[in-house]
Symmetry: C2
C-alpha cells in the first residue's frame, strides 16, 4: 500500500520525536495564531468585533475511509477540507486547525509524513495554520480528529435557521460526484480482490474519483456572493447529502421546500456512471454525501444578482412549513423528499 522504500518505526522516535518530525518547518501564517504547537494549549488572538466559530470531526478507518484506495496524502487533505467546509458554512474564514492522530504500529513514520503532507497542502491552499494536536497509538487502524477555528464578524455569520418562505434554494458546484467516485473505487476494489491480475479501470472516471479523493471547499462561491452584495438567509455545507441538509435547513428555519430535480447540477460523468450502475442520478444527487458543496437560501429579490454568478444553481424555493418537503421529477411528478442522506450508523 505504501510506496516508500524506507520504513521507520514510530516506536523508534517516540511520541515527542514523531510530533517534532511531523511539525518541522510548520510556519504560522495568520496574525491571529499567537502560539502554535509546543505548549499546553495553542493561543489565538481575538478582537471584540469578531466571533470565533469552532467545529470538530472524527474520522475512523474502515468507517469513513478505506486505505486500500485512499492515498494517505489525499486522506490528510480531505480531512482538513471536510472541517474547513463547516467553517465556510458559517460564512466564516478558517484560520487554525488542531489535528489528533491515533495509529497502529502498521503505520510507519513515513506513512504519517504522507498524511501530514496532505494536511499541510490543505493548510497552504486555504491559508490555515496547524497550531496543535495530539498523537497516540491504537491497537488497530487509523483515527483522525480535526478541530477547525474560524473568524467572522457577528453580522456576517449565517446559521441554518434563517430561511424564509419564498426564499430561493441554491447549491454550489455539482452534486453526487463524490458518491459515484466512491462506487467506482469500491467496484474496482472488489474486482481486484477477486482477481489481483486485473488492473483497476479508472481512467474514464477521473472527475468523480477526484471529487471523492480530493474535494475542495466552495469558498470562492461565498466570495462571489459577498462581491455581488448577497447575504444568504441560511447556509449549510453538504456533507451528508443534499436531502439530509435540506431537512436541517427546513426544520431549523420552520419552512417547507420544493426542489426541481431537473435543476440539480449533476456532472455528465456522474450522470453516466449512475446510469451504468442502475442508479437514478437525482437520487444520487440527493443522497450521495461528501460533496462539500454549499446549500443556501437567498431572498427572491437577489434573483437577478445570483443568476450571474458561476457555479451557483437555483434548485427550488421555500414554502410554508405546512406544505412539507417535496421534489418534482423531470416528468412533473411531485414526490415526497426522503431524509435519506449518508448515515454514519
Amino acid at each position: 500500500m505504501f510506496e516508500n522504500n524506507s520504513r521507520t518505526e514510530i516506536s523508534d522516535l517516540g511520541e515527542f520525536g514523531l510530533i517534532k518530525r511531523l511539525t518541522e518547518g510548520n510556519e504560522l501564517k495568520n496574525a491571529s495564531s499567537l502560539k502554535g504547537i509546543g505548549d499546553d494549549c495553542a493561543v489565538v488572538d481575538a478582537t471584540s468585533d469578531t466571533k470565533k466559530v469552532i467545529t470538530t470531526d472524527l474520522l475512523v478507518e474502515g468507517v469513513h475511509f478505506d486505505l486500500s484506495y485512499t492515498p494517505l496524502k489525499h486522506l490528510g487533505y480531505k480531512a482538513v477540507v471536510a472541517n474547513l467546509s463547516d467553517v465556510f458554512a458559517m460564512n466564516a474564514i478558517p484560520e487554525q486547525i488542531l489535528v489528533s492522530v491515533a495509529m497502529s504500529n502498521r503505520f510507519s513514520v513515513e506513512a504519517m509524513e504522507e498524511l501530514y503532507d496532505g494536511i499541510y497542502l490543505a493548510c497552504d491552499k486555504y491559508k490555515v495554520d496547524l497550531v496543535g494536536g495530539d498523537t497516540s497509538n491504537t491497537k488497530q487502524g487509523l483515527t483522525i480528529s480535526i478541530t477547525a477555528i474560524g473568524v467572522a464578524a457577528e453580522e456576517d455569520i449565517i446559521y441554518r435557521n434563517g430561511a424564509k418562505e419564498n426564499d430561493l434554494i441554491c447549491v454550489t458546484g455539482d452534486l453526487g460526484a463524490a458518491y459515484m467516485g466512491l462506487q467506482i473505487l469500491e467496484r474496482e476494489k472488489r474486482i481486484f480482490l477477486e482477481n489481483p491480475n486485473i488492473q483497476p479501470d479508472i481512467q474514464n472516471y477521473d472527475f468523480i474519483i477526484g471529487k471523492q479523493l480530493k474535494p475542495e471547499c466552495a469558498n470562492k462561491e461565498l466570495e462571489a456572493l459577498k462581491l455581488a452584495g448577497i447575504k444568504p438567509t441560511s447556509l449549510i455545507d453538504i456533507s451528508d447529502g443534499l436531502a439530509s441538509e435540506l431537512f436541517h435547513i427546513a426544520e431549523q428555519s420552520n419552512v417547507g421546500v420544493i426542489i426541481y430535480e431537473e435543476k440539480l447540477p449533476i456532472d455528465q460523468q456522474t450522470f453516466d456512471v449512475a446510469l451504468e450502475m442502475n442508479l437514478n442520478p437525482p437520487t444520487v444527487a440527493f443522497s450521495g454525501g461528501e460533496d462539500y458543496e454549499l446549500l443556501f437560501t437567498i431572498s427572491q429579490s437577489d434573483f437577478e444578482k445570483v443568476k450571474a454568478i458561476k457555479d451557483i444553481h437555483i434548485i427550488g424555493y421555500c414554502t410554508p412549513v405546512s406544505e412539507g418537503m417535496f421534489s418534482y421529477t423531470k416528468s412533473g411528478t411531485k414526490i415526497s423528499l426522503e431524509k435519506q442522506g449518508y448515515k454514519a450508523f
Copy 2:
C-alpha cells in the same frame, strides 16, 4: 460490564437521534457561548482584551483506558478534566468543550448516556459548556476526542518557557497516586481473570483509585496564587509524569533543575502501595503520569508568599542550563534525572 437493565441499540436511533438524546437538557452557562450544538460550527464570543487558548486530546480504548475497571461515567469525567487541565496550565479559564465519540455496536445508547453523564458532571463542576462535537461508529472499541477552549488576558497567560535561573520549582497536590491506583486496578484485574470467584480487594486503596478514576484539576491552587499576588514564571500540567514535564520546562526555558526527592509530595497510601509493589516512591512520583497536578516556577522573591498556600510544595530550583537535570535522594546522593515519564508508544 454495564449494569443497565435496558439496552437500546444506537442503530435504532441513528446519528442525529443519538446526538439529540445525549444533548437533551444541555444548557449553555457562559456568556461567551453564543451558539452550541446544532449548526455547522459552535460560535464563541471574543473580546479584544483577551486571547483564546485551545487544546485537544484523543483517548483510545485499550491504550488510554480499560473499560473492565473504568466506569463510563468516570471515563467521561476524566476525559474532560484531562483537557481542562491543559487550559488551566496556560493560566486560562476554560469555557467551552467539543466532544467527539466513535463507538462500536458493543455500546448501547444507555452506555453512551453514562459516558455523557460524566462529561456533563465535569462541565457543571468546572462551569464549562458542551458546544459541539461529532458521533460516529467504529468497528472496534471506543474513541473519545475532546477539544477545550479557554480565555485569558494576554498578560495572564503563562507558557513553559519563562523559568529563570534560581526560580523555585513548585507542584500542587500530590504525585504518583493515579499511577499507583492504576497498578492496583491492573493487579485486581489479573487476579479476577485468573479466578473470577475472588472479589477485588480495593477497599484499602480508595484514595489512589479515586485519583486514577476521578482526577480533578488544580485550579483552586491557581486562584490561591493569584490571590497571593504570585504569577508563576512558567507553568505546565503533569499528565505524562513530573520528570517528563520538568524536561519540557527546562528545555523551553533553557535552564537546568535540581529536585529534592524528600520534598516531593507523596501521599502515605501512594507511598505504602509503592513499597508493597517493590517500587521506589520517588520514582513513582517522577514517572507516574495522569496526576493532573500543576508544575510551575516562581521567582525566589515570592518564597514567603507561596509558603502560606495550602497544597503547594517547593520541590527544587532552577540552575544554569549548563548544570543539567539532577535530583538529590533522601540520603543526599545526586543523581541524573531521567526523561522517563509515561510513553504513549
